[in-house]
Point group: C2
């Protein structure tokens, strides 16, 4: 009543200004150099400008092109930037699907606020992504290639010309889509991408105390650019020694937090209870990213690996109890030595569910493959469940179907 | 011997490709809106491209313009970015000077390596900066305005199109120069810039344990973008409560580390020794930025506030002992309560030497003004010494004179 504050526009994913490309780009072949570049984007991109004075402007779909950014923009100096990783899947029924896109919408909104960038109603993000794929889906993820996907990258950056250290007064949300190699389908000699996981299971290098990814009171729990660049130094050293990723440890007790940019899971037999457990780091400590795949893994295991269900579905795998708690590298080492370790894997959008073969901690190599030198099969089972949902073999409310243009 | 590795070019600040502007920009008046924007840059900028295959390309001086950046560039997603803050000073003798530019060159090289960006020979940076000011100095910092300065921002970003999380294969070093408000010369009503310090001394809000700027094993000691964006949230909250900056505390003992993006100093009388001390956080813990101004303050005080010298120079201020050690907010509170606190100030390039009036820690307001409610004068003396060097009143080997174009 009597407020003179101007009404700032909310993000609205239902109304677009659309400019079509007149020079369609080449769709890369699976396994081609263009695809392995992770950067050969589709024909269009979505951009939405925001200003502190007016709020969110009308979203645009326009031809993919370089961004014109002032040299004084805060995203180039102060890392005012956050992002999401999503995929769009071409189902075996011919439909295009997103996987739990509102989870990404919620997290991007949270990350934006943590980095002093503008927030939005989370459900608008999936509408923006869907619009891009309505237009680019038919050609870039054709019905002739069921079981394939594109990687989607929604990003928000501080884009205005303000060199002073201050909360951004202008921002840009942009969404790009890019063919992404499916490493499970590549031949070994095609795979010269240093960021690709090893086919036989990841080799992880446990971080040393001079390399900390995240800390309490920090921002490791949000998907900020600031979590990634500073981690590349340790990652590069590990790769130079022949490892795939860093396993990020934290604290004097060397808690296991994340692997590379993925969540980390171990399956072991509890020494006290003799119960099989799926253990992963908890969200409460705010040291790890709350992964959408992580959450889905835990929910599926809780729902489907309970004894009765699992018997009903005829799985040969024994039931698993989900445990979210701090776990240490010493516990993993002990479990491996005592032959209680069954399996380890990582989860994330970019590289999905990938087994872990071993961990080097200081001078000690820990096998995480379990009995007989191979995974027990939990990760494979979980991956299969997720793929069934993603590619429409199973109807599930985690799927969001995109209506494409003809 | 027998190496087939290609020779990668080093950064070379002695050879330029120069393109002059044909439409010179307006030079803003002191105190104007353009100047207060911190973003109205000079006519030209320096850019140097780097690729992993070839190394550093020939530096360019060209008209100031927006950067064209691929939406997949790692600087927009993974905060592969670092920068320096410098100033160029128009001396009272008409000369243009940089202040200890090799210190900035060394730190930028260190920051670049910490963020997996390309390094360089530190002494090249000052040559690049000097070339820009040779061209833009005469018009943007005219001899008719001695005692004024421009702010210089050298920046390195990961600029190549590589969306995978990996060490950048392309980078861009760019240098821009921008008129920057001199807050000591502005009238109060001109100063609507929320990032400007208060004229009567800063009001600092001590951070709470849920807002931690840096961590041992992290990167708080390097000038990475990743240190800034995530700090804006706490900064914004403090400003909304009427404070100028956050005073960043760390650890269970609440160590005082930095104030905003500046180094923090306190002058107090030691309760045991009765000695006057200048105390600041140490570099060894890697929690604070190794400020060029910080270092200069400590060196000048060590050199000039020893008893004999100070007597010789006729200062009325008693001698000071420099102490670099962890100090806690409780020590400051106790010193204030026991009337041993003499003065507090912050140092940095952007806002130089600025007194601190008070600190709020939880619900307690701590006065840092010393006896009589005003600073004792150490900060003012140090500032005066530094200005004499910067503006050529005193010949000093910290100065680097730029030869301008006629």
């Amino acid at each position: 009543m009597g407020s003179t504050a101007p009404t700032k526009a909310e993000l609205n994913g239902s109304n677009f200004k659309i400019t079509r490309t007149t020079s369609p780009r080449k769709v890369p072949e699976p396994g081609s150099a263009e695809e392995l570049s992770h950067s050969h984007c589709t024909d269009h991109m979505v951009t939405v400008r925001w200003t502190a004075a007016q709020g969110w402007e009308t979203p645009e779909v326009k031809p993919y092109e370089n961004l014109s950014i002032p040299p004084t923009a805060s995203c180039l100096h102060y890392a005012t930037e956050c992002f999401e990783g999503m995929k769009v899947y071409r189902g075996y029924d011919g439909k295009l699907r997103l996987f739990r896109p509102d989870c990404n919408g919620e997290r991007l909104n949270t990350s934006a606020q943590r980095s002093s960038l503008p927030g939005f109603k989370f459900e608008e993000l999936k509408k923006l992504v869907a619009k891009l794929l309505q237009i680019d889906g038919p050609r870039w993820l054709p019905k002739s290639r069921p079981g394939s996907f594109l990687y989607i990258r929604p990003t928000i950056i501080g884009s205005g010309p303000h060199l002073g250290v201050q909360i951004p007064k202008e921002a840009l949300l942009f969404i790009i889509a890019v063919p992404w190699p499916d490493f499970t389908k590549l031949k070994q000699d095609q795979n010269d991408d240093s960021s690709a996981p090893a086919p036989k299971g990841l080799k992880l290098f446990a971080s040393t105390p001079d390399a900390i990814r995240a800390w309490p009171g920090g921002f490791g729990w949000a998907k900020l650019g600031a979590n990634y660049g500073p981690s590349l130094q340790a990652h590069g050293k590990a790769q130079a020694m022949g490892f795939d990723q860093i396993l990020w440890l934290f604290g004097e007790d060397r808690q296991v937090t994340e692997a590379g940019a993925s969540n980390f899971f171990v399956v072991w037999r509890n020494a006290q209870s003799n119960q099989l457990e799926l253990v992963t780091a908890p969200l409460e400590s705010q040291l790890i990213l709350p992964g959408v795949t992580r959450r889905s893994v835990l929910e599926l295991v809780r729902e489907r690996f309970s004894t009765e269900k699992q018997q009903a579905e005829g799985s040969s795998l024994a039931p698993l109890q989900v445990v979210e708690r701090p776990l240490t590298i010493h516990e993993i080492e002990t479990a491996s030595r005592e032959e209680r370790l069954v399996e380890a894997f990582v989860s994330g959008t970019a590289y999905f569910i990938t087994p872990v073969a071993m961990i080097r901690n200081n001078d000690l190599d820990i096998s995480t493959l379990g009995q007989g030198g191979k995974p027990a099969g939990y990760a494979a089972q979980i991956k299969s469940w997720l793929e069934a949902i993603m590619y429409g073999k199973e109807e599930h409310d985690w799927s969001y179907v995109i209506e494409e243009e003809k």
